[in-house]
Symmetry: C2
Subunit: 238 residues, 2 copies
């Protein structure tokens, strides 16, 4: 499995070629033929999918897909594969992200080092340039938020949170399609940065809360179908 694309493609294929009732998917041999690889490759990918709780392999019976139990890493995989995630799961993730990042902002206040501030400044500078160029944020937004989590000096925390951004990787550019959104986000980032610099935990927390509120309502809107997502070439299948 050198190309990790196989994993995502396989997940996608399993998802759309499974029995709606039982969740039963094509057999390993069929999958191998369809992807033009050996059964061994398929089995390796299935092992990972099973570890992610996306799939269950029942001996001598078949492969069954069930995304309800999927791990967070699995959700990220699905998101990157452009698969239609359960809107409920997306929203749940957004809720979690909020919990994590607000607390991260507070912790970062007492633990951030000069190195972190340096990185944040670099990111903010890059953001400014991008906005000046009339482009949307996305990469910079992701890096800003992750740097704050990194500033908590809790690597497990960082591991968990980085998954959120893996999940949103494809949709973030769409979110920031609206230039006004980029500008506002950038302004809020600066406020948060300054709060961190002043080591004002309560303020940082409050600012982060307000900052994430926007994203939350955005997602809520999409999930409830109130607002349609703008089209994007990267998401033609979504």
């Amino acid at each position: 499995m050198k190309e990790k694309n196989l994993l995502a493609e396989l997940a996608a294929y399993l998802f759309s070629n499974s029995d709606k009732e039982s969740g039963r998917t094509p057999s390993e041999r069929e999958l191998a033929e369809h992807f033009g690889v050996s059964r061994g490759q398929i089995r390796e990918a299935l092992a990972i999918l099973e570890a992610m709780r996306i799939v269950e392999r029942r001996a001598k019976s078949g492969i069954y897909i069930d995304t309800k139990q999927a791990s967070v890493e699995a959700l990220a995989l699905f998101a990157r594969a452009g698969l239609p995630l359960d809107p409920v799961q997306i929203y749940e993730t957004v809720e979690l992200r909020k919990i994590h990042e607000i607390k991260a902002a507070e912790l970062a206040c007492s633990r951030a080092t000069e190195e972190n501030f340096e990185r944040l400044r670099e990111i903010l500078k890059a953001s400014e340039e991008r906005i000046a160029a009339g482009e949307g944020l996305a990469k910079e937004d992701r890096e800003f938020h992750l740097e704050i989590v990194r500033a908590t000096k809790n690597s497990v925390f960082h591991n968990i949170c980085s998954v959120y951004y893996l999940m949103g990787e494809q949709r973030l550019p769409i979110y920031f399609n609206d230039p006004e959104r980029s500008v506002r986000s950038h302004a809020e980032h600066i406020q948060i940065y300054e709060a961190l610099l002043r080591r004002d935990g309560n303020l940082a927390q409050a600012l982060m809360n307000a900052h994430l509120q926007g994203a939350e309502s955005y997602w809520k809107g999409i999930i409830e179908g109130r607002g349609k997502e703008p089209k994007s070439a990267a998401l033609e299948k979504a």
Copy 2:
């Protein structure tokens, strides 16, 4: 890979048979011979370990282990395999757990349904019986906390938190070896339950915070080597 033990055993073997400098482990062929299974099996397990970021497979070079980047699921796997986790990572996980569960208690206050309360009552009853029998909690403690997370009705939240308990699976019985600890925990569980029942978010949060404080200091103590863990047959290698 029908026996998921192979995964844990392989992880353990890789961990103790890797080069301290480079992290290079024995080759697939050697591993296959050592475990008495085919290379295919080993490769399947390695694929999972690689997805968990425990291991990196470099084509035509070798397999390299690096637990610093490991995912949370990987930490759980290591813990269950009785492997010596990085104390720092353990502590970081405890910190995260606290963040999660305090917030979970608050959310549960507004979202818990009668079904959740029913389960909590059952668990508390089981706890009482276990204490009356002079036994330590552990399973009941785990279930109590997980039920609260479940009461948030956020399944992703639940997915993440269940990993913590997978991690602590082996050590919880040791923690509750001290009968006094079981009794105190149970009493605190009851308080928390009552706060949830009254839908008092602030109180539930505060109680959960205090409740987890004990566990935090316990782990901190072990990590800093101040307190030694009591011996346990299940942990002779730890």
